[in-house]
């Protein structure tokens, strides 16, 4: 049972590694103002009715990765009374990447769905 759980966790982790960036870009593209990590996590939580897709703590390094690649821009809102919040906003290259990634995602989804449907008939 533990082994099966580990395998499932590993699969979920590998799947998340690719999709988290797409999900974050999509959330930031839909937002009408810059968002900080906790707000993004709350938005993901509200859209996630089943098992959480990923741990919220894993969002932050992905956000940094997207920022590093120039797909997001960010600024820090300093506060002397608490932790500074880093706000993220999608850039033009981020929007372009989102378009291409969505296309790739749809192709992948269709492909996997077809295979899965096919395998049920085997």
């Amino acid at each position: 049972m533990d082994r099966s759980n580990d395998v499932n966790k590993k699969f979920q982790k590998e799947l998340n590694a690719g999709t988290a960036a797409l999900v974050l870009l999509s959330i930031l593209a839909q937002a009408d103002k810059p968002l900080y990590g906790y707000r993004i996590a709350k938005l993901m939580e509200s859209g996630d009715k089943g098992t959480p897709m990923m741990k919220q703590g894993a969002l932050y390094p992905v956000l940094r990765s997207l920022h590093q690649s120039g797909l997001l821009e960010s600024y820090v809102d300093p506060s002397v009374s608490g932790p500074p919040r880093r706000y993220y906003k999608i850039t033009d290259s981020g929007l372009n990447a989102l378009k291409s990634w969505t296309k790739i995602w749809n192709q992948t989804k269709t492909f996997v769905d077809q295979i899965l449907k096919g395998s049920s008939h085997v």
């Binding site: 590694a17 900080y36 990590g37 906790y38 996590a41 939580e45 959480p52 741990k55 919220q56 703590g57 894993a58 932050y60 390094p61 992905v62 940094r64 990765s65 590093q68 690649s69 820090v76 300093p78 506060s79 002397v80 009374s81 608490g82 932790p83 500074p84 919040r85 880093r86």
Partner: protein, 305 residues
């Protein structure tokens, strides 16, 4: 079960032991920002819940320290700074390696950093010196305490900006978020933390030392580059303007047959300067990391994160 956020952060820090100090600083800062926001919201909605219980469900969503540490380590390997050092190709010959440095972005990043250093050395040095003297003098008056506090606080801002420049140009991983104070501390405790924390004084020392270092990097680089470029272009320089190669007491005009030799020496000198520029970049990046990033071996500070 964790009693408070600090316990969680201490555990997260343990899990990240051995990672880059800048990554640890960022991961702790992210976790604290997230958990503090989440805890405040939870306690506002359900004031009857105790802090440890509220934290338990928040950590369930945020991830255990082991899970979060693993995510940071895993993603960090994929997002090295743009100019992060790359492994040199083993197949290249000595001359191949020697000349290829001019085509590498790290060389030009370090060169740009050295050019900027000419300016930042003066700005940082003046700010540190004048701000320090002014704060010290103002301490005899009551306004001296807030003035000194603001000055020391400004050092952290400068450290963050310098860290971002270093990461962008020298490819050394530096913190991406500023250091902040815990929300529950009063002004007196925050002030004490600012003054007592060794990082504040390390940043101050960095700004003071950056003055001679930055200017030295700048002047040496400009001198060596202009000298080598002059050697490379000397035949043109001589035929067009009739100027000497160097003037020490009296002008020195080399013989015509030695011109090709001077050009070759100039080329070697130019590429050696590129290597020196890279060395300066590497050296300064390590020095900055030592001075501007909190040492992760020390115990978790009570006042700031």
């Amino acid at each position: 079960m964790y009693e408070n956020i600090q316990e969680y952060l201490a555990q997260l820090k343990k899990e990240l032991r051995g990672s880059d100090p800048a990554l640890i600083q960022d991961a702790l800062s992210d976790a604290e920002e997230h958990l503090q926001n989440a805890l405040e919201e939870t306690l506002k909605k359900s004031p009857q819940i105790s802090e440890p219980h509220a934290l338990e469900s928040l950590i369930e969503k945020y991830g255990t320290p082991a899970e979060v540490a693993s995510a940071y380590k895993e993603i960090e390997t994929r997002i090295q700074p743009t100019l992060a050092p790359t492994k040199p190709s083993k197949k290249r010959s000595f001359w191949g390696k020697f000349f290829s440095t001019a085509g590498e972005s790290r060389t030009w990043g370090a060169f740009l950093y050295i050019l900027i250093s000419g300016l930042t050395a003066v700005v940082y040095g003046m700010w540190a010196l004048m701000g320090g003297v002014f704060s010290l003098c103002s301490l005899i008056l009551i306004i001296g305490i807030p003035v000194t506090g603001l000055f020391l606080f400004s050092l952290r801002g400068i450290a963050l900006v310098e860290g971002r420049i270093i990461e962008a140009l020298l490819g050394i991983r530096m913190p991406r978020k500023p250091i902040f104070f815990r929300r529950k501390l009063n002004w007196r405790q925050k002030y004490k933390t600012l003054v007592m924390e060794s990082l504040t004084w390390k940043i101050y020392a960095y700004l003071i030392l950056h003055f001679p270092l930055g200017l030295t990097y700048f002047l040496i680089t400009i001198f060596l580059l202009s000298l080598s470029i002059k050697c490379v272009l000397y035949p043109v320089w001589f035929w067009v303007f009739g100027r000497p190669l160097i003037t020490i007491n009296q002008p020195f005009y080399p013989e015509g047959w030695s011109f090709p030799l001077i050009v070759i020496l100039g080329i070697i000198f130019l590429f050696s300067t590129f290597h020196l520029i890279r060395f300066i970049g590497r050296f300064h990046g390590r020095f900055a990391k030592l001075m501007l990033v909190r040492k992760q071996e020390q115990t978790f500070p009570q006042g700031s994160s």
